[in-house]
Symmetry: C2
Subunit: 378 residues, 2 copies
């Protein structure tokens, strides 16, 4: 029988890698589920719900981890957890593969097979496992809600007896999953929305949400879409032209949401101090790339700062601020990933190591860092 | 020439009684406008905009007030302002007529004519002067935005590759101006909405916003609508039946917004501690009646507290948290009130003391408190 274990996350993390729903599903696969007491508290999921779904509740992380064949986490396992983990176990989590290398090495050295959910390939079969999509979607929603909460005016146009309240102007930079949900949320709230992206494909998606697309649309722009669907980095010349266009556009905006990330690299700088200072007092910028250094000059990761009357929000875990949904979706992503790895008849793991999804996410095995995107980086 | 003066408000107040727009309009009436430097800063309205509109900018409140024929304020004038105010001046502000009586007496003793904008009669001609409406509308909007920002899940139903995110359930108690805007805002954000009110007329309005109406609809309910459009207090028996219905309803809600106020009386208690405790952890209550003691057991005016996992928000000046709009609309309300009082030919005030709006709002004159609703209360 497979033992699946879930523990409390570290300080800044509100999410949990299991939900009562996925507990039931794992039980349905014939697995044993061990859950550390309190691990769901910050997602408003009390132990009782997990117990009712069939999980064994244990007090300490060590108790939960010791017998684990599968350790499910949101972030990297702690050193204490690694210390008691069986080398035959697998770890499935957002391992931040481009983050602190020494912690990654320590994880590998343990001998476990470690899967980084950030590396789920963008193929149809893996859509239900795509943690970046599920979490970015919520982050895009929360970015707009937070912007609205900090903005000194209302978003929608309102016709009142005392006259009209004008709609807010919201500009979304980067129209990936987070950006598109930000556009949708700002639209729900009645704002006038524009958006930009370096991928020409984004133009249609932006237009489909009734937002105006803002970009220098030259030859380079048209050639910029990469196979993987991620933004590639543009030339300096293009960036200069785009920055000039963006600069004049930003000066007239009330709210700017930036979402530009390039995997494995620092976040591109999209908004300069000068652009921030060109905005009206009371405007708000939400920098969804804060964790990777930020798209905005003046962003302080994890903090809300005011510069020249403009609020710059640099929260680093926005999905984690709607933990009820974030945990539910993340847990479903993990279940979708694990379900095909379980041999229900034998009651054990049966991993096809050459499967595209397995090979694409496996970053450590048999004591080594094995992922091609990580091997050169030591 | 009439001198209209505006000064900085006290600590907790972000709003200002003048906007660049109304400055221009007052200038158009032939008035002189004197504006204390910095008075618009917390509404993101820099002095420059007022100067461009024709206001004279002065450093101190005393300079602004000394020559005032009309003193426009958001809240009550300070003792320092009263000390230099001419007895012939008029004061127009939200004077909190049922609040601290001794301050009201001090204001009256000064000999000025003081108008309480809260008393603007609910007649068609005075709609554009109705500060309670203009500010409640914004408060209702902000209540929902703040609830969304503090709620541990998203408001709208979302269909994602990892499955569906369910819509949040929002319950609005009191369907006046604030409540109706709260319903509209929650609806924009995709929540499933229900609402209640003691006035039968509210049922139609709630239904017109596609929210479900929750009330014990007996004879008393049907008889409860008062001429003024405000809610009158219901019998204990009705309250008991309604409380039982509400109690079972609240247990299934994610967000509760309470907006019940009875002029001149403490806010009615609508949500008991037991009801709060029946809600799921992570739920949010916004108590728009916090300033009058609150509709919710456990509300702490001016604070956000968590009780049994439920966040209870007791901010006391929600309109002031969207000061850009709140000041603009409040300033328009004041202009609409003042404009008919100005004799443009003679360049002086010409107040018709027996006009319904004047008589309805005048609370002090010639050293006395004169308003019928306040004369008995000393």
């Amino acid at each position: 029988m497979i033992t699946i274990s879930v523990t409390r996350e570290g300080e800044g993390e509100t999410r949990v890698a299991l939900s009562p729903e996925t507990t039931k599903k794992f039980k349905g696969l014939g697995a044993r589920v061990v859950f550390q007491a309190g691990a769901g508290d910050r997602s408003f999921l009390p132990d009782r719900l997990f117990a009712e779904a069939g999980a064994e509740i244990v007090e300490s992380a060590a108790e939960a981890v010791r017998e684990a064949d599968v350790l499910l986490k949101v972030g990297r396992p702690s050193a204490e957890e690694l210390a008691v983990l069986k080398p035959s176990a697998i770890v499935v989590a957002m391992l931040d593969p481009f983050g602190a290398r020494d912690e990654l090495e320590a994880l590998a050295a343990k001998g476990v097979s470690a899967f980084a959910m950030e590396f789920i390939p963008r193929i149809t079969r893996a859509q239900s496992m795509d943690v970046l999509s599920s979490q970015s979607n919520l982050a895009g929603y929360k970015a707009v809600i937070d912007a609205a909460a900090h903005f000194g005016r209302a978003f929608p146009m309102m016709m009142t007896a005392a006259g009209t309240v004008p709609a807010a102007r919201v500009f979304v930079m980067g129209a990936g999953v987070a950006g598109l949900q930000a556009i949708a949320t700002a639209r729900r709230n009645g704002a006038v929305i524009s958006a930009t992206d370096v991928r020409p494909a984004a133009k249609e998606q932006v237009a489909s949400l009734a937002a105006k697309f803002i970009a220098v649309e030259d030859e380079e722009f048209k050639a910029a879409e990469t196979a993987g669907g991620y933004a590639k980095e543009m030339s300096d010349e293009y960036k200069k032209k785009q920055a000039a266009l963006i600069a004049s556009h930003i000066a007239a905006q009330d709210v700017v949401i930036t979402t530009a990330l390039i995997p494995g690299r620092p976040a591109p700088r999209l908004v300069t101090r000068e652009m921030v200072e060109s905005m009206k007092p009371g405007s708000v910028i939400v920098d969804l790339a804060a964790e990777r250094g930020g798209n905005v000059e003046g962003t302080v990761p994890g903090q809300i700062v005011v510069h020249a009357g403009v609020t710059i929000m640099g929260q680093t875990n926005l999905a984690g601020q709607v933990p009820g949904n974030a945990s539910a979706l993340y847990a479903r992503n993990l279940y979708a990933f694990l379900e095909p790895l379980v041999d229900k008849k034998e009651g054990k793991l049966a991993i096809k190591w050459d499967d595209e999804i397995i090979a694409g996410t496996l970053i450590a095995k048999d004591g080594q860092i094995v992922h091609p995107r990580l091997k050169g980086g030591a």
